[in-house]
Symmetry: D3
Subunit: 227 residues, 6 copies
């Protein structure tokens, strides 16, 4: 349950270098490296293909049809942040458009992750300000009810704490608890290190069955080949 009407100004952010470094690895590798946890539901989609970012979360809790707190969170953004917005109930309204994006970008935000709708996607695409959302909608919002900024929120099924690291790309959005960011980066890099060699082998026609030595396991499990 949520604490309403508060703005936490001093939050601890994940290690800067770690949070920044995750983008290059991508959401799938980071998710894998963390033991397959931290993924937001796959209905969260980018508004344009190809964006790949990471950063530190500032969180905002919104009410359905009300984007007042988006202006409040803007002030809390620091260089390298990604705004993570949750709503207290299901809503597809367009909470965010090109004016707010201009403001967020000016404050140093790299992206918005919102469990609701977004609009002005054409302009946002031209501005190269990426948004992951569950809907695109022209529907505007009012400014009348208090939510909160920088409290723990549930966004697309996942708990996000202020300061956590976020990595997002065409495959989805992954949250990395701030305490684990450095370790997650290291693990992800390790995973990726030998991908090049594997890719080359597979490209040459070697089968995963042989490269990963799966044949014995499959046989043990009872796999039968029928001609």
């Amino acid at each position: 349950m949520y604490e309403l009407g508060v703005v936490y100004r001093n939050i601890t952010r994940a290690d800067r270098a770690a949070a920044d470094g995750l983008a290059a690895l991508g959401s799938a590798t980071v998710h894998e490296a963390m033991g397959r946890v931290g993924l937001l539901k796959p209905y969260m989609r980018p508004i344009y293909p190809g964006a790949q970012v990471s950063g530190t979360a500032v969180t905002v809790l919104l009410h359905p049809g009300d984007n007042w707190m988006m202006h409040v969170v803007a002030e809390q953004i620091r260089e390298g942040d990604i705004v993570v917005a949750a709503v207290t109930a299901e809503c597809t309204d367009g909470y965010f458009g090109d004016l707010l994006a201009t403001s967020f970008q000016a404050r140093g935000a790299r992206a918005l992750v919102i469990d609701a709708g977004v609009r002005d996607v054409k302009t946002l695409t031209e501005m190269r300000f990426p948004v992951w959302s569950k809907a695109v909608s022209s529907k505007g919002t009012i400014k009348s009810t208090l939510g909160s900024v920088n409290i723990p929120v549930v966004c697309a099924g996942m708990i996000v704490n202020p300061g956590d690291a976020i990595v997002a790309d065409d495959d989805g959005v992954v949250v990395v608890p701030k305490a684990m960011a450095a370790k997650a980066l290291e693990a992800a890099k390790a995973r990726e290190a030998n991908e090049g060699a594997k890719r080359e082998k597979l490209a040459s026609g070697v089968l995963g069955l042989d490269m990963y030595k799966m044949r014995e396991g499959l046989e043990k499990a009872g796999l039968r080949y029928i001609d």
Copy 2:
């Protein structure tokens, strides 16, 4: 409830200049300018990004899996029209493809808005004939049951009257009652007029909190800042 088997040939269309002028403003601004009404449900998506059109609605009511009336409506299209197609029950079939698009385009139609499916989207994209639909599907349709043309229809949850103005872009589809088209255009232009100045301010780092003078209202509502 719907009147079936009729084609209204003489409909009053929204003021031409107003209907044409809405495109430049876009669906979000027009929707906002009208007091946040008139938006079709956000599941209506364009088949390719970047299209931005406005025009006058000719409406058609279809039966599930039957596109006979699409040929009937083609004859009623005039230069500057947008065809708005509703179905009497949920259906995702591909009612419309490149041949019909060729015909619609030849008659002067600017777009199709259909609460069902569309196909040949690759060719439609090459032709630059935009369609907003709820699905893409190869599934063809038969031609055996009468619907109607130019009656009021419910398309994606919204009543559309023949002759209403329609504006559609990447953010969605908005219907403007014909009697309000000129006023809506004016209001939308007014909204947009001072957007440039606002954008500049926000880009320079000024916060919406200050630009919109929200701080007092937030304090009154009880917002607490915690360090």
Copy 3:
């Protein structure tokens, strides 16, 4: 119901030339030519626009969250195949990424059709390895339970037998029973043959109502024109 833990190595594939020829016609024309059967549900979407392929199906049955059999099916791929993957329960996990795609491509596969999720879509797009899926998700999978390869499966609501011809493009995915592939190709070509002439007529402003001689039928059905 499914036979588990088996791999059929020798399957009869649809006639090569026929299977290859379907791509040029596209899913909508082939679907139409077959009497409007064989279409997978329209939630199956391509990961990038513009891909248009056909080939012969090798099938794989997977368990939720487990992609072990993807490595098993890789060995059964021959030049010109399309892998069709079904899951025993609803799942949106990312079963397939760039490493498996490298392997599939090296073995001669042209595409993947999967009733689940896919990841690394940015790299897959760069590789031009097309995938039709119901979701995109960073979520990885384990390798612990046996499914089957080259058994009949239900993919997105449609039965696919190993060796059937598959045609997929921006409009969707259609399966053609292997015994009907040659006939389907011929029928589809016949359909397309006179499309050029029709398109020209429609482009010149001739109405479908006249070109298809629909006016009498509509009148008989009781259509009334009201001025």
Copy 4:
């Protein structure tokens, strides 16, 4: 598009006897008798089984999360009315509970049809005040924005005009335009008249194939029997 902030006090209601008589026939028979039009989307479900009512519509347009107008519409209810509530955007909040039901019932309302949520369903069931809704939810609503009363609304995909006849039961909700109520009742009664005889025949083992003389039509259509 909707006119906001108005209450029409004097509406013409469908013929009383006709509106009352429809309940006994049921939604399926009435829908059939009207030529299969007028059905609200099938996600509209009754809160308890067995309720079967008909009456005249008073309509109300609500905003998401705001039930202020429910109190306004209460005053417009007359004996024999059914309240039909639409919302300007998707919402599942519980707009209606036992207090409002007590008020509606005291004013003579027979039921509520709402394209949103309802709560206190246990008490409503005990009170035998039936509601057809798209959701059940504890979530309450505020009272701050004007909608309208007795304007035409779109409820679950169907246009409902104030004064139209409504029939609702376990199978769904059907709207009958007020001008057609008497005729629809008559047609529905005619349909039902010979159902008893049919039921007896079918119960004795006679096939619909023979009773409806379908065999010839099926043969003509090409049906083949294979032993």
Copy 5:
């Protein structure tokens, strides 16, 4: 892909005693006994609680909005059958009501399983003719297109062959291939045999952790208890 326009009259049905015996075990136990395969998607729900049946499948393939073949399948029903109905595309129309139920019941059918809608559910409940469906809808259907009877169909995601055993209850619908019916019954009975003893133990407060000897496995997997 489906063969259209055919009725197979002579099908091999699952062993009678086995098909009949499955009802007492219930869908969950049978599903478990078969190795967790054969379950239709969980959106298939009974129209009233408490029905628990099993029998042999006669299958029917329908077109969207067309129930002509329901009359054709009626003739193929024998004592102890359950009709399994699939549709060639998504549809929620009410294909089946009290008249058809009277006919099916007279022919010896025990239930209907339909991947679409049903109506007259109040009367069907009174008749105690159970139906598992994906929707309830007043919407009637026409009789104009040929499907097929007793071909293999895909119903709610699962292949059902004519003659297969079906078991359905409040938990869902399971299909048992005819060749496995006797074995499945035996396995299900074995599963159930020692459930009584287990239930007594658990009721007395013994934990599954101890009864199933799970503690060692959990410890091995690394479970940590924190006080």
Copy 6:
């Protein structure tokens, strides 16, 4: 993000009397009394109507298709608890049936709230062990992966901490943070105190418009009555 493989044995539970007292008020009143927060998504539905319970949460985090931790959580149940089960990804499998219910009931649990599926609902109904779930499914689960017990979880979109108070009935499920349970009970009682008087007034025909003195506010907001 979740901590995996841990069981917290000593949790602080909400005040017993407060947690127990909430049931009588019901989820809607409690939700209202708390300022309209704490409601799980409305897709959570009871398996039978009429159950109304409250208690203290013990939480369990499960993996898709794996109910191993359900046996682990059983040991942590104390008299008056309600088990709240979350899953790391979307799943509708039947994690819970009559055997586990027997065990939970023997340990003192009053209900299960699970963001997944349940089975044996007929027996659970007979046992009067209520379950709120998002699905009913015969599909069983395996026992192979560690989750956690008594960590904070996200269940149907809401954070639930171990020891929080839960109230659930036909209208839905509400979570009350343990520290607020007593206050929430008091507030809910206060809300209910004057409901009797209100109900009587409304039953006598007094309008909410007058009882709540809404007329002035509506007039101020601009409501127009048209005769």
